[in-house]
Amino acid sequence: MPDAEVVVIGSGICGALAARRLALAGADVLVLEAGGPIERGQVVAAFRDSPRKSDWLAPYPYHPWAPHPLYLPEENNYLVQAGPDPWPVQYLRGVGGTSWHWAAQAWRLLPSDLRLASLYGVGVDWPLSYEELDPWYQEAEELMGVAGAEDTGSPRSQPFPMAPVAEPWAMRRIRERLAPLYAVTANTAARNSRSYGGRPACCGNNSCQPICPIDAQYHGGLAIRSALDAGARLQSHAVVHRLEADAGGRIRAAHYLTPDGQPRQVSGQVFIVAANGVESPKLLLMSGLANRSGQVGRNLMDHLSTALTFEADEPLWLGRGPQSPSAINSRRDGEFRREHAAYRLDFTNISRVDSVTNDLLEKGVYGPAFEQQLRRRVAHEMGVRNVLEVLPDPANRIVLSGRTDALGLPTPQVHYRIDDYVRRGAQAAQQDFALIAERMGGQRLRYSAAGKFSANHHITGTLAMGDDPARSVCDRYGRAHDHDNLYLCGTAVMPTSGTMNATLTAVALALRSAEQIRPMPAARA
């Protein structure tokens, strides 16, 4: 008898919601999770006590036996940067995973995002259509409690579970002043605009990143709890370092280490690797599996951003309401995608108090001028950034580094080069930035440093799906081409990145994989 029918590696939002669905379908599911527990109340307290309020990793527990990249106060160099460009990605290793500290933006892709190669001659096509994804998107949105407006450009056959969250005053003014030049739309987010799923409506704490103190936004901690409620089992403190295949290529066991290095293994009939876009390929590379195509870890994509900050000519007081409420979607698609990256324009509503304080202190502004400048800037400053599509490039990849962690396991290494397609997209967005600033009566414009891009932590492409086993890692259901009882779940299976935060799509695909592994009996659907 195997130890479990389905062994899921990783208790993040994708692994957990696949585990939940399989458990509801009647499967015996065991989730192996490298990290330890994460408690909401403790994270809220740690955030309030944190000396670095803008460092969203800081309030989270760090498990030395299951490290994740840390950058402040000192880099831990867990993720080795091989360049030429840096990719300072963030993720969390702990029960529930990275979406504990996400922004909960839960957009669908556009239909064209899945057909880039045939429409525009760049990137690749997906092995499935948007229409096939639609019901899985809907199921994911209902599980996660997604609120959104209808005018997103992504067709849907059923309404959103919830109306958009009430528009902050600042966003209303931006929308009014940019019309009709730009249509400013409410962001689609897994954030409650009313009580939903036993969780309350948003009350505007404005700490969505790093932690929503009232669970008004959905996250992986809730997902794994729902999986356990459905009957799945969880083994935390289990760092899986090798999958073992039998002579026929079927996976028979997952080997893991406990925090003190004790070796353990569990057997199963089906295995799901859901350890995220860096750790999942790392595990397959360590296991020497699923890589006939040589594509494991390759085609790494993340959305990249440049930004503009300026002072509007009216007080907006960012920081009232949720952090990321509004966007401009008109640059997400068009013939220009043949030439340069598509992008979304995203308006921040993150309180400026901490960042302006830092800046004024840096500049040595003391005395009465401090309060005057703080109030003026906190009231008037606003920010817009682009979220740029990145194309798959096999040279951008995760490999095993020569370094090892506390358990003696290799740490990941990233090779990353930002190409001209992205740089041209950023160039095009500069014109939007300038127009937006002009319309808002912008003064003291501050563009992000030329040629520098920030990461968005949407780790796509490293286990890309496709129909051709010679050029992709898994099939349209996330099943590894090389191992018929191995499934891959998470953002990594996405062959292109589009311009939207990746998690909703990854959850939809994970639910679809779960249905493929064990269909939900009609009575429970």
Binding site: K53, W169, P213, S351, D354, L361
Partner: protein, 162 residues
Amino acid sequence: MPSPTRRLLLKAVLAGYATAWLPTAWAAPGDAGQAAFLDLSALLVGRSYVDPAQGKPLFEAFKAQAGDFPNRCLALLAQIQARQLDPATLQRVLDAEASPLAALPRQVARAWLQGVVGSGTKARCLAYETALNAQMVGDVLRPPSYAYGAYGSWASAERSDA
């Protein structure tokens, strides 16, 4: 009421200094370093008064991190007084002459404005919602992680004409 020692100290270091800058915060009798810290703090954050009760844990934390902290406060305050240095230009002046005290104003200001004492791996946050930067905008904003209000209360016009 200020103690006689305290009066002497003020007389010594602040004689001739513009009264607008005279802070009214008083430290425990006999603790010249702490008194200097409070006076310096008030100058840097642009207030005529800083709360000694709020200042005490900050001062203690600084002292625990660097034993010479009280003396550095005394030295900087004395310089400010002697040279009639204005807070608006203080940092530039100290930086230009590569003063050994150049880091101090920022450290002290940060402690009050963000509640943070120390830097890097030694940084500790001792105040958040009571830190002065939160208080300075408290008529309009709540510190992140505290509820702004009932659902949708953020949709109306701002509450300040700043």
